[in-house]
Symmetry: C2
Subunit: 126 residues, 2 copies
């Protein structure tokens, strides 16, 4: 029943609840990640949040592959692989080198492998 008035929100974003532990909140408010940082970090995780990209990363954790190899190995169209590789590139998760007509992709650094392995550990234990 207690519907919050939009005007109240403008005045005070916290008015909707009563239980707030104000001391704890004021102690933490300055330590919380900023919205900008959160957005960047979320984008990194979001990049790994697709099964096709996970399979690409898994493959690249084992060897360097060209685009058509990945398409064949994962049974996904060349276009789809290429689109997804761009997403992975934009998040600095993979790097590439050109050799003639072909482009070979690999994981950007050990950092990526650690992040991936950490996730794998979590799902294997749960």
């Amino acid at each position: 029943m207690e519907v919050k008035n939009p005007k109240d929100i403008e005045q005070n974003p916290v008015c909707e609840v009563q239980c707030v532990h104000t001391d704890l909140i004021s102690a933490c408010i300055n330590q919380i990640i900023t919205s900008d940082q959160a957005t960047h970090l979320a984008e990194l995780f979001k990049t790994l949040g697709d099964s096709t990209r996970i399979r690409i990363v898994d493959a690249l954790a084992k060897a360097e592959f060209c685009v058509c190899d990945l398409a064949a190995l994962l049974n996904v169209s060349q276009s789809a692989i290429s689109h997804q590789l761009r997403v992975l590139r934009n998040s600095s998760l993979v790097k590439y080198r050109r050799e003639g007509k072909m482009v070979y992709y690999s994981l950007d650094d050990d950092h990526v492998l650690r992040l991936y392995s950490q996730g794998l550990e979590h799902v294997n234990e749960k």
Copy 2:
């Protein structure tokens, strides 16, 4: 939801490209993560792929909070926080305990913190 023309796939999943390094592929094909595993892992990362959930995790990395604390701290509606907490619960990233009317949330284990920190490291270095 991932592939191209079903008829082509039945006939020959690789027909669209010519460059395939068949030896490398047959050496790797059995080591690649299964689609099922990839889906599970992707869901874990997807869970962290939203800025609101990142901010929740960041807060819970510092202290235990009840739902209304999180709503106030992050300036997000109670309903939205509650919805997102369920997503985090479903991926075993947070746990909770009831105390009277209130429900206190915290990170499920150190695993989650390591995964989160690893991601934070990556974005800070790039």
